[in-house]
């Protein structure tokens, strides 16, 4: 093992892990609600969810229970998303390095992991603190959840231990298992690590979604099914997919910010080139995770509707409708920043200039799509809310705000973001194959027909007189996918044996790097916002329809209040990440050895 300043982090990890265990043990000391129910002559399994009165919620030192738990939960989610995502694409990058036999990939993958290691202890710390806070502030709820999920918490703890072990082995064996067959062994460890990590997330997602769409219990909350049934509730898989993708995009964005910062701070051109390349790759990963997200998001939303129309309307039409407008603004910001970065990247190649004139058209589409997306259509509200907001319907903007228009906008934005990427990809390659011109024509045709199809389906969806205009969105998604997949495949053939021109990594304006900071900031805030939406969907229920929240803070806070809290949590997260980056930098800093001192005179010398 290489001795280095990572070691303290390692030790810290062990400390955190034991902290979590202590916390878990402490929870064992709390009154066991199942036993309490049995005392009252009830069979614990058939007893419903507890009815809790206002007075049953502990107040501790005048702290706001909800805000405390909210902040800790969100912090834990941020860190966990990052810590789970990076090994995923780290492994992919390592694999790239192995198949292309390009050592640069391997060292970048290692660098990704280095950042993760320092963040890992904080994840555990936040998780332990969250568990503690939940048990302190919401003992009846936690008692009930423990009853529903029985031994699953132990599995979670076990998985967490396994995650720690595999993570440390994966990272610290990197240099030892570097070449040949040993590399495959190393990658298998990485695979195991990711399998454990994903399972960990899925387990936790089961708890979060159980609270939204309880399963395996009857209407009173009495347990009727197995732990598996409770886990596999209606919203579990949609959330699993959405978070999986979002985590990758999020992890990419954060690593991108690290690379951008290093790029700006470095003087040495070779190191700058390296960090430019790392920034580019991270942005690529972020976009890759991002492109399918809207579809996963719509799936999640559709499942929410089909689980409970009431919940769906509460989300999209009720008090929370405005939040989806902020969501659209944030997503638009992310898209614009990512595109801006890609356009700036055209500077890196000599042929890139050729594409610059097209950038403005891409820009127009992206901004136009963005504007359509943020246009609200209808806000369905309770009368008192209508009084506050002054009306439910945006008369002028209405048609732009409906789903077909939004779907059209989203699909076009995705297609054009992909186009930005494709322009850069092409700018460093001069096709030589005979097939090239024909291939080019096909790609143009793909774009034109695809976009016409997307717009046409949008118009059709608009004039179709149904409440649910979902039918039209399928051809749109298909068009988008065909354009993307089709032109990737054609370009592979078209550019086979192409003459590659040098990409001048590092030839980037400092300004372009700021796009890589917008990305994680917007992403972090967006995640905070979505977490708030997810919790708010349950309105005044701990476990929707089964266990009521009778605490003083059962209301849904205003967007402004929520925004302020989210900003504070984001700031906290940024502080942690700065520290984490600093830690991982520290690992490379070597103190210059002190100047050899002039030989001191010894006593015998003086005596002489």
């Amino acid at each position: 093992m290489t001795p280095g300043p990572i070691r303290p982090a390692f030790r810290a990890g062990i400390v955190m892990a034991s902290l979590v265990l202590v916390a878990a043990a402490a929870t064992g000391l709390l009154p066991d609600p199942a036993a309490a129910a049995a005392d009252q002559g009830m069979n614990a399994a058939t007893a419903g969810a507890p009815h809790v009165a206002r007075g049953d919620y502990p107040t501790i030192a005048g702290m706001s229970s909800r805000t405390t738990v909210w902040a800790l939960a969100q912090m834990h989610l941020f860190l966990a998303a990052f810590v789970l995502a990076v090994p995923l694409f780290s492994l992919a990058t390592e694999f790239m390095g192995k198949v292309t036999d390009d050592g640069r990939y391997d060292s970048m993958a290692h660098e990704f992991m280095k950042i993760t290691m320092a963040a890992y202890s904080f994840t555990a710390l936040a998780g332990g603190a969250l568990a503690l806070a939940l048990f302190l502030f919401y003992p009846p709820l936690m008692g009930y959840l423990l009853r529903v999920f029985r031994g699953q918490v132990l599995i979670y703890a076990l998985l967490f231990g396994l995650e720690s072990v595999t993570l440390y082995i994966y990272y610290y064996s990197w240099k030892a298992l570097r070449y040949g067959n040993r590399k495959w062994v190393h990658m298998s460890i990485g695979l195991l690590l990711n399998a454990v990590g994903l399972t960990l997330m899925f387990v936790a997602n089961g708890w979060a979604t159980f609270m939204m769409s309880p399963a395996g219990v009857d209407t009173t909350g009495a347990i009727t099914g197995t732990v598996w049934e409770a886990t596999r509730n209606p919203l579990w898989n949609p959330l699993n997919l959405h978070r999986f993708l979002a985590n990758i995009a999020y992890g990419g964005a954060i690593v991108g910010a690290y690379a951008a910062y290093m790029f700006l701070a470095e003087k040495d051109p070779a190191r700058r080139a390296h960090y430019d390349w790392m920034g580019y790759t991270s942005n690529f990963i972020a976009i890759l995770g991002f492109l399918p997200l809207p579809f996963a998001g719509y799936w999640l939303m559709a499942e929410i509707y089909s689980y409970s129309q009431q919940m769906g309307i509460t989300a999209m039409g009720g008090v929370l409708a405005w939040l989806f407008i902020i969501q659209a603004v944030l997503i638009g910001t992310i898209m614009l920043a990512a595109n801006y970065y890609l356009w700036s990247g055209l500077m890196r190649t000599d042929r890139g200039r050729k594409y610059v004139p097209y950038v403005k058209y891409v820009g127009v589409v992206i901004i136009g799509g963005f504007l359509v997306w943020v246009t609200p259509h209808t806000l369905i509200l309770t009368p008192s809310e209508v009084q506050v907001l002054g009306g439910t319907n945006h008369k002028l903007l209405g048609p732009l705000g409906i789903m077909p228009a939004k779907n059209t906008a989203v699909n076009l934005m995705l297609v054009f973001t992909f186009l930005s990427f494709q322009m850069f990809y092409r700018s460093s390659r001069i096709p030589t194959s005979r097939f090239a011109p024909a291939g080019n024509a096909i790609i143009y045709a793909l774009y034109i027909v695809g976009c016409l199809n997307i717009v046409g389906a949008g118009i059709y969806g608009y004039i179709t007189p149904t409440v649910y205009k979902v039918g039209a969105s399928v051809p749109q998604v298909v068009s988008t996918l065909v354009i993307i997949v089709g032109s990737v495949i054609i370009d592979i053939f078209r550019l086979r044996g192409a003459e590659t021109t040098t990409i001048h990594w590092g030839r980037m304006s400092p300004r372009s790097q700021y796009a890589l900071f917008v990305l994680p900031v917007a992403f972090t805030w967006l995640m905070g916002l979505m977490g708030y939406i997810r919790s708010s969907l349950r309105t005044y229920w701990h476990v929707y329809t089964v266990m009521r929240d009778n605490s003083a803070e059962a209301y849904i806070p205003t967007i402004g209040q929520a925004g302020n809290v989210i900003t504070l949590i984001t700031l906290g997260f940024m502080a942690v990440m700065v520290f984490v980056f600093w830690l991982s930098r520290l690992g490379e800093t070597r103190q210059a050895a002190p100047e050899p001192r002039p030989p001191a005179r010894t006593a015998t010398e003086t005596a002489r």
Binding site: T219, Y261, L264, A265, S306, S308, Q309, Q310, I313, T314, G317, G318, V319, W322, I325, I326, V329, L330, T378, I380, L381, T382, P383, E385, V388, L389, T392, V467, Y468, V470, Y514, F517, V518, V521, A522, W525, S536, T539, Y540, W541, Y544, T545, V546, R548, D549, Y555, I556, P557, T558, I559, G560, Q561, A562, G563, N564, I566, T567, T570, L571, M574
Partner: protein, 278 residues
């Protein structure tokens, strides 16, 4: 220096999001408050007004029942014609089938609230169910949880809007809206029964059927009826007994008016109970 610049820039972006969140309309959504009403002195006009408050407030009915087309816009529809056409629809198979008038409206509205899928207004069913499953939640169950009295108030409100005289009972003083429904079931003519065995007793099922150990044999043995019939078939056999006749028995013996006399909630309980006899 770079650090400060980057930090300031990130802070600025954060600030933009925060300010944006703060300039949007600010609404706080509170949990519904339980109204404590002096129900003892409430007359029908008070009941109708209470029903309207519930319709727009605690019942969250306007979340879906509004002009946006997610559910019938009951505040703007001609309810007289609307309800009458539902009852006349051949597809309608609820307890008020073939009936008209205020009492039939009451049954229809109550069914709509307690068991919305008995009849689904065409075009409004859950996606993919071909209008057999209603997306409307039961209003007497969480998350809406209207009490018996509150449901009566909503019915009174809708009956009034449909131009008929409300037929629901006025709440007696004991039945404060906040009270648990179980506590309201004491008097037979004011509240529905909540215990299936009591329901069987009070409607005299055991006089003809072998139920609860009565060993009567005028009608089919109902011990274990849950293994022979589905929930739907049992319900049908009670509110429309002659629709299908059990083998070896005559039509017209089992009373035809249970659908009218029984509360929907009682019917539900009874059916649940019978279906559980295995």
């Amino acid at each position: 220096m770079t650090f400060l610049k980057v930090f300031a820039f990130s802070l600025l972006s954060l600030l933009v999001f925060t300010v944006f969140a703060n300039i949007l309309p600010q609404v706080q959504s509170d949990p519904p408050k339980e109204e404590t009403l002096d129900t003892g002195s409430m007359d029908m006009a008070g009941m109708i007004a209470f029903g309207e408050r519930l319709f727009r407030g605690k019942g969250t009915c306007t979340l879906c029942h509004n002009e946006l087309g997610r559910a019938p816009d009951m505040l703007n529809l001609d309810l007289t014609a609307d309800f009458a056409s539902r009852l006349a629809d051949p597809a309608y198979a609820g307890a008020a089938k073939g009936k008209t008038g205020a009492r039939a409206f009451e049954i229809y509205i109550r069914e709509s609230m307690q068991d919305p899928s008995i009849y689904v207004v065409p075009g409004f069913g859950k996606k993919g169910t071909n209008d057999t499953v209603s997306p409307m939640p039961r209003v007497d169950a969480p998350p809406i949880e209207l009490t018996e009295v509150e449901m009566n108030a909503v019915i009174a409100f809708l009956q009034d809007r449909a131009g008929v005289k409300p037929t629901v009972p006025l709440p007696s003083a004991e039945e404060a809206p906040a009270a648990e429904p179980a506590a309201t079931a004491q008097e037979e003519d004011t509240g529905p029964l909540t215990d299936p065995v009591e329901i069987i007793d009070s409607y005299g099922c055991a006089a003809c059927h072998d139920l609860n150990g009565s060993e009567a044999d005028l009608g089919p043995d109902l011990r274990g009826v849950g293994t022979r019939l589905s929930r739907e078939e049992i319900a049908r056999a009670i509110y429309d007994p002659d629709a299908t006749i059990a083998e070896g028995y005559e039509p017209g013996i089992m009373p035809q008016d249970f659908g009218e006399r029984m509360r929907v909630s009682e019917l539900n309980l009874l059916v649940d109970y019978l279906a559980s006899l295995k």
